[in-house]
């Protein structure tokens, strides 16, 4: 057994050239082969790639898809995002717990099935959903969940759970998934027809400088949510003196409620890879990396196949489309379940085979990114837009959208609505129009841009989708009037507490303290001044956290306080005698009484 482990780990490390920067791939392969990365495996890997043991161990313990303890042959990861809760998470969890006879986080005694939960897996439009190994199982009901477990017990092969295939490329044999695209509205940029090579052909007739000029003129801004001008980012990277430059596509779509990149990866992979190639030409890069979140690994073979096809047609590789000296290749880097890796510097760390720790900024990635070289990190949708811009021209693109935000936006809409799915709409579309499009049911609030952005109430439904008003990376969750906004905020605080990398104190500790206040208010023990304390604490976390996660994490609370203040105010009241109602002396001395074996005389 030990010899087998040694041999296989050595083979795996060897297949990645014993390269330390490919530790993510090595660890993923070992985890898949053995159901864990044990202490002995950690030793072996460390020796093979010539690094310290602790580096491997910190990697294994950082990413949620890796584990030191052996997992079952089948791991069921039930998605516990708020939308899944709204669609019946609890009943499904109960059904699974009962059927399997274990609690969440445990493995059956025969070592076959592990049950655990995971944050948003990008299936909010078909919630409740779960990942069974790398197979996405959608539209779950308690009955289907029980049936699933009974089938798995027979064959332990999650792929056999897929009987009905989703539309489009979901039914491609290489994807073979029940996931549905649910494209509800196609726009002119992303979901219009696309023919491979057309954008690249026009690009290669221009100088790299004029390609950057074209992207700048189009006024394209980053689609991941921050909205940084794409052309400017490319220009910075191209002008930084360096021997090597890199293009990275951020497909770590982890913001709860976002799934439009999943659909673009499924249906517009060619357009995405072409956009990355255009960027490579513009900034002078020879390697592109697609960072694909671990939850979407079911798309891995298909995307690799698309890359192969493009290589064979001369759209990737050396002398692309006959252009001497233009060489560009793309590899796919699989993530392993860490929300913070959606932050670009954490994503770069992960690509380098490290924990997904954010880096200090500045220097920004276009100055010093992957391997210390200038790097362009853009969202899936941004690269797709770049392809379209090179076909239709900057003028055509910038004519669409709102006055200050050009083009269209792919939105993932889910929650309390009859038609959840992906909508491509021009920037400038009103929130109220979206509610109509998705046939929202009695809407009382919208979470625009996921928990890291803002929750708005009916008084702001007239606002428009753009970077100056309602900014979003694509996530829109609709809540009906009956939903408790405070509980939603609390749910997302739990999420951020779990996903915080723990590096800086304001985020690691501040969020836990903030959650205590929210709990106090939600439980009815809050006082008026607690609301101001929450505001103060939130602002402190926002202004002193090191990376985007901590800076955005208090937003669910801030949003609720700013937009639904009256709700909070109705739940707090001034207490008589100045005592804290959530402190109970009787229960605080129970442990002590049990230990010494008598009751307190003074309680």
């Amino acid at each position: 057994m030990k010899q087998a482990l040694e041999k296989i780990v050595a083979e795996i490390c060897d297949s990645f050239g014993n390269d330390r920067t490919r530790l993510m791939d090595i660890t993923t392969a070992v985890q898949r082969r053995f159901g864990c990365v044990s202490d002995s495996a950690i030793d072996l890997i460390a020796r093979a790639v010539k690094t310290h043991r602790v580096e491997i161990e910190s990697l294994v313990t950082f990413y949620s898809f890796f584990s030191k303890e052996e997992q079952g042959k089948v791991v069921i990861r039930l998605c516990d995002d708020i939308v899944d809760w709204m669609k019946g998470y609890q009943q499904i969890a109960d059904a699974l717990v009962k059927e399997l006879g274990i609690s969440i986080g445990e493995t059956t005694s025969d070592g076959e099935i592990t049950l655990t939960r995971t944050p948003c897996i990008g299936m909010s439009d078909q919630a409740p959903a779960a990942l069974v190994n790398d197979v996405a199982v959608t539209y779950l009901t308690p009955e289907r969940a029980v049936k699933m477990v009974r089938e798995l017990r027979k064959h332990l092969d999650p792929h056999q759970l897929v009987t009905v295939l989703g539309e489009g490329n979901n039914s491609n044999p290489l994807v073979h998934s029940m996931v549905r695209n649910n494209i509800r509205q196609k726009g002119a940029v992303l979901f219009a027809d696309f023919e491979s090579g057309t954008a690249l052909k026009r690009t290669l007739n221009m100088t790299p400088e004029s390609v950057i000029g074209e992207i700048k003129a189009s006024k394209l801004r980053g689609r991941g949510g921050a909205g940084f001008p794409t052309g400017l980012k490319w220009e910075f990277a191209s002008k930084t003196k360096a021997d090597r430059r890199f293009i990275i596509c951020n497909a770590d779509e982890g913001e709860p409620g976002t799934f439009k990149d999943r659909v673009l990866l499924t249906e517009r992979a060619e357009m995405l890879f072409e956009g990355m190639t255009i960027a490579g030409y513009a900034v002078g890069a020879e390697l592109g990396i697609l960072y694909l979140r671990g939850e979407y690994s079911y798309l891995f073979s298909y995307l690799n196949h698309v890359l192969e096809t493009r290589k064979n047609s001369g759209l990737l590789g050396n002398s692309i489309m006959g252009k001497q000296g233009f060489n560009f290749d793309i590899r796919i880097q699989l993530g392993a379940g860490a929300y913070v890796c959606g932050e670009e510097t954490a994503l770069i760390s992960s690509c380098e085979g490290k924990r997904g720790d954010p880096k200090n900024r500045p220097p920004f990635p276009p100055q010093e990114g992957y391997m210390g070289c200038p790097t362009v990190v853009n969202n899936v949708e941004s690269f797709c837009c770049a392809s379209r811009i090179m076909i239709e021209g900057a003028k055509w693109f910038s004519a669409m959208g709102s006055p200050r935000t050009a083009g269209t936006k792919a939105l993932s809409i889910s929650g309390d609505c009859r038609r959840p799915g992906v909508y491509e709409v021009p920037f400038g579309t009103k929130a109220s129009d979206l509610l109509e499009l998705c046939e929202a049911e009695n809407p009382g609030a919208m979470l625009i841009g996921g928990p890291c952005r803002q929750m708005i109430g009916p008084n702001r439904f007239g606002g428009i989708i753009c970077y100056d008003d309602l900014a979003t990376g694509g996530s829109i969750i609709v809540f009906n009037k009956a939903r408790n906004k405070l509980e939603i905020a609390e749910h997302y605080l739990d999420f951020f507490i779990e996903e915080s990398c723990g590096y800086c104190t304001p985020c690691r500790v501040g969020l836990v303290l903030l959650k205590k206040y929210v709990r106090k208010v939600v439980s009815g023990a809050g006082e008026p001044q607690d609301l101001d304390k929450m505001l103060k604490l939130s602002n402190m976390i926002v202004s002193t956290s090191r990376c985007g996660l901590g800076q955005a994490a208090p937003n669910p609370v801030l949003g609720a306080l700013n937009n639904f203040r009256e709700l909070y105010e109705s739940m707090v009241s001034e207490r008589k005698h100045g005592l804290q109602p959530d402190f109970d002396l009787t229960s605080a001395v129970v442990d002590s009484e049990l230990f010494v074996g008598r009751r307190s005389l003074y309680v």
Binding site: F583, A588, Y602, V603
Partner: protein, 180 residues
Amino acid sequence: MKPRIATCSLAGCFGCHMSILDIDERILKLAELVDFDRSPINDFKHITTRCAVGIIEGGCCNEENVHVLHEFRENCDNLVSLGDCAISGGIPALRNNIPLEECLETAYLNNPGIYNPSGIVPNDEEIPMILKKVYPCHEVVKIDYYIPGCPPPADAIWDVLTALLEGRAPVIAYDSLKYD
């Protein structure tokens, strides 16, 4: 009648009270301005009449601390948490991540150097019950003002006290708040 001040040390080390004494000769001015009610300075066992300001050092680690804190809250117009233990639990709160049972066993029963052949854990009726964890004061009662520091500098204490006695909102100068 002069306004009254009360002070107490709960789960603290008296370092904050030492810092009160560090106001040096200003204590004479203070004696002109106020009368001291319950305080370790005069050893009153309970508050006698309503006080303008109550100063709390230390967090709550046992039931007696809670009773004292309640008495202060009930009888003081302004309650001030003085120092890090009152504000966040401080050093005594290091035990909060260890089960109480384990703490007591390690302290009285199973630790090298302990001689306790009859296995007795202190259990006299006079000894207050220890709480399952150490609480900062504001989790037990409402606190009006906080003076951070371990210990807080005498100037910060003086500034807050005089402001409260003169009916102003206390502001602690930045220099008294940074320690590096």
